[in-house]
Amino acid sequence: MLKKIWQTVILIFFTLFISLFQFSFISALPGIFGQLNLGFFIMIFVLFFFGFKPAVLFLLIYGFSLDFLSFDFFGFYVISFFLSALIAYLILHNWLTNRSLYSFLGLILISTIFYNFFGAILKYILGPESRTFFLIQSNFWISLVYQIIWSLIIAILFFNLAAGLTKKLKPFFLEKKQIV
């Protein structure tokens, strides 16, 4: 019981640390490096390997801490993350038959696109009236491309790292058949 409480506390602090890291450190990095969406990537990673419920718990803590810190309307990050996680879960549940690296890359790609669209639509509807329509903003498309590139790179690194560190993920890789 005590162990479980400690694990929960550590996970909460880890999530808060990630949100602060994203908010202050990554946002200060130049150009393409500033477009790394670490928290979102972790959410999809958790969803893919540990299920929908842990992903929802992660996005609640991560999303609300970003909502506390940022100046976007309250709930913006939580809603965007939740809608993206829901889409990712439906794709994972209904379309992806195995849990290979390729499935993971596909899921990351689709959910990153959905996340950016959800975020932009929410801001366009609920943000200031003077906002330009996001589809004609070059910033939106540049940011989307950068995020996709980052997500795919980190997905490959994380997947291989996770496979190297734990046996749990080994079966997810497609094994090469030896030709006799």
Binding site: L16, L20, F21, Q22, F23, S24, F25, I26, S27, A28, L29, P30, F33, G34, Q35, L36, N37, F40, F52, K53, A55, V56, L57, L60, F64, S65, L66, F68, L69, S70, F71, D72, F74, G75, V78, I79, S80, F82, L86, T112, Y115, N116, G119, A120, K123, P128, S130, R131, T132, F134, Q137, S138, N139, F140, S143, Y146, Q147, W150
Partner: protein
């Protein structure tokens, strides 16, 4: 009959989300939000400082070392000369004492609040429309919406657009939503309005066709914006767009501040 599982993640989300949004709307979460903002401030400052240092290193590597050094020195010198010129002209007009750049705020009798930047508010996927930064001072420190913000040399970098108890959002002068009443330091003291252009440069609009402006003219705040004093340097005219069939001319203003290197700023309290 629809069965709802007790630990259904969607149900958990809806309950927690609804509850927190409701409590936030009532203001009950304010103490928690303030505690979170204050307790995370040192770590946020540390992260931002290190991120900016990496940013500086990255910028430096992109150019040749000696060329970069020369450019930096020239920019610094240009900024100092520009401020100096701007100050002298203002002093001549208003019969006031010469302003030193290093102790800019005290000599001008401006009250100010020094603040550290904690984020660039351009979080990935947040579809930011322009350049904004977040500082670690807010309503509790006497800051109000519309106050001007300067760097350590006294060059205006933007103004306060949104406030929380312990933090404030600043739109940079390159942000399309950051409008400032400006004046050119030419013979006729041409007036206009500046706002950001694609987050990279500044443009000055509503300049009458008959006004004579030239490349290199210094642009300063005109004092017509409420809460922003006159004479703060915005930048220099880099390009002029003048078409005979238009009522107004437009000028591109080159900022003399590298916004990527900012870590500490001062909010001017008029």
């Amino acid at each position: 009959m629809i069965k709802i599982k007790k630990n259904n993640p969607i149900l958990i989300f809806l309950v927690v989300f609804g509850l927190l949004v409701f409590l936030h709307g009532l203001g009950i979460l304010d103490p928690l939000e303030n505690f979170f903002a204050v307790s995370t401030r040192p770590l946020a400052e540390y992260f931002f400082h290190n991120g900016t240092e990496l940013n500086k290193t990255y910028s430096k590597r992109q150019e040749r070392d000696d060329l970069f050094a020369q450019l930096e020195a020239a920019k610094k010198e240009l900024a100092l000369v520009t401020i100096d010129t701007a100050h002298w002209q203002e002093v001549e007009e208003e019969n006031k004492k010469l302003r030193s750049q290093l102790d800019f705020l005290s000599v001008n009798n401006f009250q100010s609040v020094t603040a550290s930047i904690i984020s660039r508010e351009e979080l990935a996927g947040a579809s930011s429309e322009g350049s904004s930064i977040i500082i670690n001072r807010g309503e509790k420190d006497g800051i109000k919406v519309g106050f001007g913000v300067v760097n350590e040399d006294g060059i205006i970098i933007g103004k306060i657009t949104e406030l929380k108890s312990n933090s404030a959002k600043i739109c940079l002068t390159t942000n399309s939503e950051c409008k400032l009443a400006a004046s050119l330091q030419n013979e006729s003291k041409t007036q206009g309005i500046t706002d950001g252009d694609l987050g990279l440069t500044i443009k000055m609009s509503y300049i009458p066709q008959l006004e004579k402006i030239s490349i290199g003219d210094t642009v300063i705040t005109s004092g017509l914006s409420s809460n922003i004093p006159r004479g703060l340097v915005i930048g220099k005219v880099a390009n002029i767009k003048n078409e005979s069939n238009e009522i107004w001319q437009e000028a591109s203003i080159e900022p003399i501040v590298n916004f990527n290197n900012l870590t500490v700023v001062s909010v001017i309290i008029p």
